[in-house]
C-alpha cells in the first residue's frame, strides 16, 4: 500500500531532484537495454528521459497499467448522468413548455447534447489526469541531462546509497556518460 507521504510526494513533486545519477545514452536500443539491466539489478527508484515515446520501454521499466482510461470513463459517465438530470430539471420541473406536441421529458431529443457533454468531460478528465499523474505543471523542472528533448536518451537512478561505481557496473556494455545529480 502507498503511504500518505508517498502519495504526497507522487502528486506534488517529481523524482529526479532527490539525488542519484543520470546516464546519457545515444540510441533508443541502448536505453531499452539500460532499463532492463537496471530492473534486473533490482533498482527501486529510476526513470527514463526520452525525446519521444519508445515502444516497449514501459514493460522494460515494469510500469503498471495507466489509470487514465478509468478516469476517462468516470468523467464521461458523470457528465452524462448530471447533464440528463439537469435537462430533466429544466424541461420537466423548472419551466415545462410543450414544444411541437412533444412530451416534457422527450429524451431522444436530448441525445445529441448528452453525447457532446460526455465527450467533452471525458476529454477534460483525461487531460487533467495526465497533468496530475504525469507530474506536469512544474514549469521550473529542469531536464536531468542536456538534450533529452532533442536526441539524448537518459536514465536516472536514484536509489539511496548507490555509488557511481554501482551505476557503471549496472550499465556495463552501454558506454554511458554518467553525471551525479545534486539533491
Amino acid at each position: 500500500m502507498l503511504s500518505i507521504a508517498e502519495i504526497k510526494r507522487g502528486l506534488f513533486s517529481y523524482d529526479e531532484v532527490s539525488g542519484g545519477f543520470v546516464a546519457s545514452l545515444k540510441t533508443p536500443a541502448d536505453l531499452l537495454n539500460a532499463a532492463k539491466q537496471v530492473k534486473a539489478a533490482n533498482v527501486k527508484l529510476f526513470d527514463c528521459f526520452t525525446p519521444c515515446p519508445i515502444h516497449g520501454l514501459d514493460a522494460a521499466m515494469g510500469l503498471h497499467r495507466s489509470w487514465i482510461p478509468v478516469l476517462t470513463f468516470v468523467g464521461g459517465l458523470m457528465a452524462g448522468i448530471l447533464s440528463l438530470l439537469y435537462i430533466t430539471f429544466i424541461d420537466v420541473f423548472n419551466w415545462p413548455i410543450v414544444y411541437g406536441g412533444k412530451p416534457y421529458f422527450s429524451w431522444p431529443a436530448y441525445v445529441p447534447i448528452l453525447f457532446e457533454m460526455v465527450i467533452y468531460f471525458a476529454a477534460v478528465f483525461t487531460v487533467v489526469a495526465v497533468l496530475v499523474l504525469g507530474r506536469l505543471g512544474f514549469i521550473n523542472r529542469k531536464v536531468p541531462a542536456a538534450g533529452v528533448t532533442s536526441d539524448v536518451f537518459a536514465i536516472w537512478i536514484g536509489d539511496k546509497g548507490i555509488s557511481k561505481a554501482d551505476v557503471e557496473r549496472i550499465l556495463s556494455g552501454l558506454n554511458p556518460q554518467i553525471e551525479e545529480v545534486k539533491a
Binding site: A35, T50, P53, I90, E116, A129, V130, A146, S150
Partner: protein, 461 residues
C-alpha cells in the same frame, strides 16, 4: 535503419530534424511570409470592420431577406466547419488506423481545424443579430424568467457540438504540442546564453515556451500516461468529428424545406466535410513545404495519400448527390421534385453547375498516378474542390430557400458588398492565424516523427 515497409523514413539525426522544423520559428521571416501576412491581415481587417459596422447599423447591410433568411452566413458557416474536419480526421481517425503518414501533417491540419472553427463561429454570431446576447443560448440559471434554451432544437445541439468540438480539438492539439514546446524551450535556453542582441525579445519568447511546455522533461513515466491519453482522445474525437457535421446537417434535415428534408444529409455532410477539409490541408501543405523547405517531411507520397482520400470522399459526395435526386424523383412530392429541377435549371443554375463541375468531375483526374503525384495539378485541384464545396453550401442554402412551397413567397437573393467583405474577411482571419501559427509553433509534430523513426530502428534490431 530503414526497412522496405517504412517509406516515410527520413533518416536524419534527431538534432538535424529539430533544426529543420524549428527554422521557421527561429529565423527572421522571409519577404514571402511578410507579403502573405500583409495581404491576409488586410483582408481580416476588412472583414472585422464590416462586422463591427453591421453591429452598429444592423443586419440590413447584408442581403438576407424573407425567404432567404440564412444567406451567406450559413453558407460560410457550413463551409468553414467542413474545412475543420480534416484536422481531426488526420489526427484521430488515421491514428486509430495506424496510418504512419499522418505524423508529418497532423500538427498543421489540427491547427487548421482550430482556426477554421473559430472563423466558422463568427457567422452565427453575426447572424443572430444581437451578438451581445449570445450567452443566452447557454443553459445556466438566470433572472430572465428563468428563460432556458430549447433542448429539442437542432440549433442548440449545434451550439453544443461546435463548442465541444472546438474545446476538445484545442486541448488535443495543445497536449500534442507540449513535448515540442519543451524542445523549443531548451533550444531557446541555449540561445539566451549565447546571444547578445535582441535580448529582451529572446527572453520573452523563451519565457513563453517555458510556460507552454508546463515542465515537460520527457520522463518515461509521463510518456506512459501521455500515450494512453493520445489513444483515448483519438477514440473520443473520432465519434465527435462525425457527430459535429451530422448535427450541422440536422439544422437542415429536421426542417421541412424541399431539398433539405432528407435522411441522406448526415453522411452526405460528413463526406463533404472530409472532402473539402482534405483539399484545404493539401493547399496549405503544398505551400508550407515549398516555403519552409520541409519536402523531406511532407513528401509526394503524403500528398498522394491525401489525393486518394479526396478522390474517395469526392465520389461519396457524388453518390450523395445522385441519391438526393433519386429520392426526390421517387418521392411523389411535387415540391421536392421541383426543388431539384430548380437547382439545375432555375435562376441559380450556374451555381449548381459550378458545384457539379468542381466536385463531381474534377476529383476523377486523381485516378491517374501521373496527375496525383504532380504538385501543380494537386494544388489546382485542391483549390477547385474547395470552390466546389463552397458552391455546394450555396446550392443547399440559397437555392432551397429562395423557392419553397408557395410561389407567392418566392424571392431572389443578391449578396451585398458587406456579404462579400465578411466572406473575404473570413479567409483573411483564417490565413492570418495560420501564418502566425507557422512562425511560432512547430508545424510538424517532431516528437511523433521521432517516435516513428526510433521505433522503426528498434524493430529492425
Amino acid at each position: 535503419m530503414a526497412t522496405e515497409k517504412n517509406i516515410y523514413h527520413i533518416g536524419k539525426p534527431f538534432a538535424a530534424m529539430d533544426d529543420d522544423v524549428m527554422r521557421p520559428i527561429e529565423a527572421f521571416p522571409t519577404k514571402l511570409w511578410w507579403g502573405a501576412f500583409g495581404i491576409s491581415l488586410m483582408a481580416a481587417v476588412l472583414g472585422v470592420s464590416t462586422i463591427l459596422y453591421s453591429f452598429f447599423v444592423g443586419l440590413g447591410v447584408f442581403a438576407i431577406n424573407n425567404p432567404v433568411g440564412w444567406g451567406f452566413f450559413i453558407v460560410n458557416f457550413v463551409f468553414w466547419v467542413g474545412i475543420g474536419h480534416a484536422g481531426t480526421l488526420i489526427s484521430a481517425i488515421l491514428f486509430l488506423f495506424r496510418q504512419k503518414w499522418r505524423t508529418s501533417i497532423n500538427r498543421a491540419a489540427e491547427a487548421m481545424t482550430i482556426f477554421a472553427v473559430i472563423v466558422a463561429a463568427i457567422f452565427p454570431l453575426i447572424h443572430i443579430g444581437r451578438p451581445w446576447f449570445v450567452y443566452w443560448a447557454f443553459p445556466y440559471p438566470n433572472e430572465r424568467g428563468p428563460l432556458w434554451a430549447n433542448f429539442r432544437s437542432p440549433l442548440l445541439w449545434d451550439l453544443f457540438a461546435i463548442s465541444t468540438y472546438f474545446s476538445v480539438s484545442l486541448i488535443f492539439w495543445y497536449m500534442g504540442l507540449v513535448p515540442d514546446f519543451a524542445t523549443l524551450r531548451d533550444r531557446f535556453e541555449r540561445y539566451k546564453a549565447n546571444s547578445k542582441i535582441g535580448k529582451f525579445l529572446l527572453e520573452m519568447k523563451s519565457l513563453a515556451y517555458k510556460v507552454m511546455a508546463i515542465g515537460w522533461v520527457g520522463s518515461a513515466k509521463t510518456w506512459h500516461h501521455y500515450e494512453k491519453m493520445v489513444m483515448i482522445l483519438s477514440a473520443l474525437a473520432t465519434p465527435l468529428v462525425l457527430s459535429v457535421h451530422t448535427i450541422v446537417s440536422f439544422d437542415f434535415a429536421t426542417s421541412v424545406i424541399p431539398g433539405w428534408h432528407a435522411t441522406i444529409f448526415p453522411p452526405y455532410f460528413v463526406a463533404g466535410a472530409i472532402y473539402s477539409g482534405f483539399a484545404m490541408v493539401m493547399t496549405l501543405m503544398i505551400i508550407t513545404r515549398e516555403v519552409f523547405k520541409l519536402k523531406e517531411y511532407i513528401t509526394i507520397k503524403h500528398l498522394e495519400n491525401m489525393a486518394i482520400v479526396i478522390l474517395v470522399t469526392g465520389m461519396m459526395v457524388s453518390f450523395a448527390y445522385t441519391v438526393e435526386f433519386v429520392m426526390a424523383a421517387y418521392s411523389a412530392s411535387h415540391n421536392e421534385q421541383y426543388a431539384f429541377i430548380n437547382r439545375m435549371t432555375g435562376p441559380f443554375a450556374w451555381a449548381f453547375w459550378i458545384m457539379f463541375t468542381c466536385n463531381v468531375v474534377s476529383p476523377h483526374f486523381l485516378w491517374f498516378k501521373k496527375l496525383r503525384t504532380n504538385i501543380k495539378v494537386l494544388f489546382v485541384i485542391s483549390i477547385v474542390v474547395n470552390i466546389g464545396m463552397w458552391f455546394e453550401r450555396f446550392v443547399i442554402v440559397i437555392i432551397s430557400l429562395h423557392r419553397d412551397y408557395l410561389p407567392s413567397s418566392w424571392d431572389s437573393y443578391d449578396p451585398t458588398w458587406a456579404d462579400y467583405a465578411v466572406m473575404i474577411g473570413s479567409f483573411g482571419i483564417f490565413f492570418t492565424l495560420f501564418l502566425m501559427f507557422i512562425r511560432t509553433i512547430p508545424s510538424i509534430a517532431l516528437a511523433e516523427v521521432k517516435a516513428d523513426e526510433a521505433n522503426a530502428s528498434l524493430s529492425h534490431h
